[in-house]
Subunit: 420 residues, 2 copies
């Protein structure tokens, strides 16, 4: 059984918007065990929508269209489906009533255009749209095939697909296998180091399969399993995750949607620790990331963005002599920043970050990308030297990632030691 | 004359990646005056690539394929094109040599797989790939039609399209009209206010056309003109921009790719002014944005991320009584933060930002989203009260946008006054 995606809208052919709907529908169908072989896009043109629809029906059992269901003259999908399937359009009183109610709830008068949205091809099942006026359609056609039409607005289309369309398709086509993914996130390691560490496992595992996806400062390890039962799938994912954890240990920082700053925030809350940040080259990004998590005022006390040498001296008590002797970008200054910040803010932990983000400011001895990151705590201060190769904004991002990961590893190793 | 885009790759059908190539090619063709009527995606499957290619050639004069040109067994595009066009594959010595050189330059041995990339359908013009091993192909076929194949890696495809493919297509199909866009960016106004201000102009202007695109904290006004001559196009854009500027004045902050923080940085450099930032609810984001611009150390001196009340007192000299009397989120505290920051950092300008980013911390009197932003300068201190309706990260972004825009308007009005 094969599905075909048909996205409709002139703005897609002009490249004014990227077709994220097609990717979302494709991914959701794949996860539900339904194969997609074709994706076609046409503009708001009656002839070409009709041609694409006929063609799709000739080669695919499931045709999923998005877009062209709105109230304007440009919205042609319903009319074209009726023509291609040779069915009359009939006024659906339930749809009409729900559109009328939506307008009344907002104190608005319904325009005649919106009435058009209640004209439905005969024999179609209406899929209620909880977030807009255009209903979706689920239409069984000849030879057991199905045509589905959904609105093009992603916020309206997505829940309609997952909650209404997918269950109907799985039932109708008796799909039993499901695809499930899990993402393990790792920081502080290069792609080739990761490949050395787990390449053999990644290549030999067939179900789940393993894919490595590189992002700035982190790599996502995606495990994808195809099984009939939920339990079997979870068990296989758990098994492989356990084997990967054995090799990678503390380098793995999180799973699925969780971001590094959220993991750090959670660890700080759990350990009842507070943190302050003195940052130079990252320019506020570490503070920004730490405060993205709701409730961050429980652990984040204060940050200093000390761009000038004077500010490093005034605000953090870094000595003038130290800066002159070692330079502002040095291990000694990063450590002094972290310790000065911790004293000033009276926190459990403090970060000190100094580096050269670029594009200017580098030298042969201290090139663009050179960065020192120090973490001060009651146990003393540790410092790492890093060299990043990106442009200014990438270097800021990579440095912020390394800084957050140092805090994470520090908290995690303490927790592991306490539990051991 | 119509073009058709054919994107090839199983990962696109699985929804693992969003098809940004299709949007880029579509937009670039539209800008070059070439209409696109169809976009099709198929996986790495010989039969379906062939079917899609035949179909495209039957209805479009220009077929532009991306993907499937790499060195692996999965890369089928070249072979399929040769089959569909009934042409033999021939070894291109120049391509082979350039691939060999790429490998040698990196001290690597060329694999036999890479030799396959030098097998080219007879009669094809090779488009050199300056950023990878897979060359592009430009193939004139029957009835004046053209098949183009480009690599799927966006960094390799984009320059090949704009520098090599588009000029060839424009010459071959004698395309004279060009589409040109200009974006004017505006901050500090809602979409409906903007519509009231310029809606009549936007709707009555046919060439250029006008479209409004809303982004968090700003709106982009896109002017699109279609003309044969560059001069005529620029003149029409200039005329309409002048009429829009008459109505919108200082609300317009920039053009095309320029970001608000870059405009602020440029104005600070021009006016030889320095700035410091004391931010609470924005958590470091304003400092981060100000330091994204290369050379920002010329104007950005220092920032304080004062999350706790204690930090506001210790670092900015905000009095304890003031915080108790008005609350940390208040006009009085924002102003005291800005003035305290300016005194501490000895800068020309300083920002003070305090608010409730959410989701917690709101009350009936002071709801989530309430934000005060103050700018202190030699002329005194000004403060704005704002109410944002987003989630935590959107509220941070909107507050940072409003803060940067206040600095911009302050600098711009001084400059305008000096020039008047």
């Amino acid at each position: 059984m094969g599905a075909e995606i048909l996205t409709i809208g002139t703005e897609l052919l002009l490249g004014q918007i990227v077709d994220t709907n097609a990717a979302y529908v494709a991914e959701t169908l794949a996860a539900a065990g339904i194969d997609v072989y074709w994706k076609t896009t046409v503009g708001d043109n009656e002839g070409r929508i009709g041609e694409a629809m006929r063609q799709a029906l000739s080669r695919s059992e499931i045709v999923i269209a998005t877009g062209g269901l709105g109230p304007t003259e440009d919205d042609l999908t319903c009319r074209v489906i009726a023509t291609v399937l040779a069915r009359p359009l009939v006024l659906d009183q339930t749809v009409l009533e729900s559109i009328r109610r939506r307008f009344a709830d907002r104190g608005l008068a319904m325009s005649r255009n919106n009435e058009r949205q209640a004209l439905i091809p005969e024999g179609a099942t209406v899929l209620p749209n909880l977030r807009g006026t255009a209903p979706g359609l689920f239409i069984p056609v000849r030879d057991g095939r199905v045509v589905v039409a959904m609105p093009g607005v992603p916020l309206e289309m997505r829940p309609m697909l997952t909650e209404q369309v997918i269950p109907r398709l799985r039932e109708r086509f008796e799909v039993s296998a499901r695809i499930r993914s899990r993402i393990l996130k790792i920081s502080g390691i290069t792609e080739s180091q990761l490949d050395e560490a787990i390449g053999d496992l990644a290549r030999s595992s067939l179900n789940p399969t393993v894919a490595l996806l590189a992002h700035p400062g982190e790599i996502h390890i995606r495990l994808t399993v195809k099984t009939e039962s939920h339990e079997d799938g979870e068990r296989r994912l758990d098994d492989l995750e356990a084997r990967l954890r054995e090799r990678l240990g503390a380098l793995l920082y999180g799973r699925d949607g969780e971001r590094l700053e959220e993991v750090v925030g959670r660890l700080l809350v759990d350990a009842k620790q507070t943190v302050a940040v003195a940052e130079s080259c990252t320019g506020g990004l570490v503070c920004h990331r730490l405060t993205n998590r709701p409730g961050s005022s429980a652990y984040f006390v204060q940050g200093e963005v000390v761009y000038s040498d004077q500010a490093k001296e005034d605000r953090l008590g870094v000595s003038h002599e130290l800066i002159v002797r070692h330079g502002a970008v040095s291990r000694a200054v990063a450590e002094a920043m972290a310790c000065g910040m911790r004293d000033a803010a009276r926190t459990d932990l403090a970060l000190g970050i100094t580096g050269i983000a670029g594009p200017g400011g580098g030298s042969a001895e201290k090139p663009v990308g050179l960065t020192y990151i120090a973490v001060a705590s009651a146990e003393g201060v540790i410092c790492r030297e890093l060299r990043f190769l990106g442009d200014r904004e990438i270097n800021k991002l990579l440095a912020s990632q390394a800084a957050l990961d140092m805090v994470r590893q520090c908290l995690q190793s303490r927790r592991d030691a306490a539990q051991a």
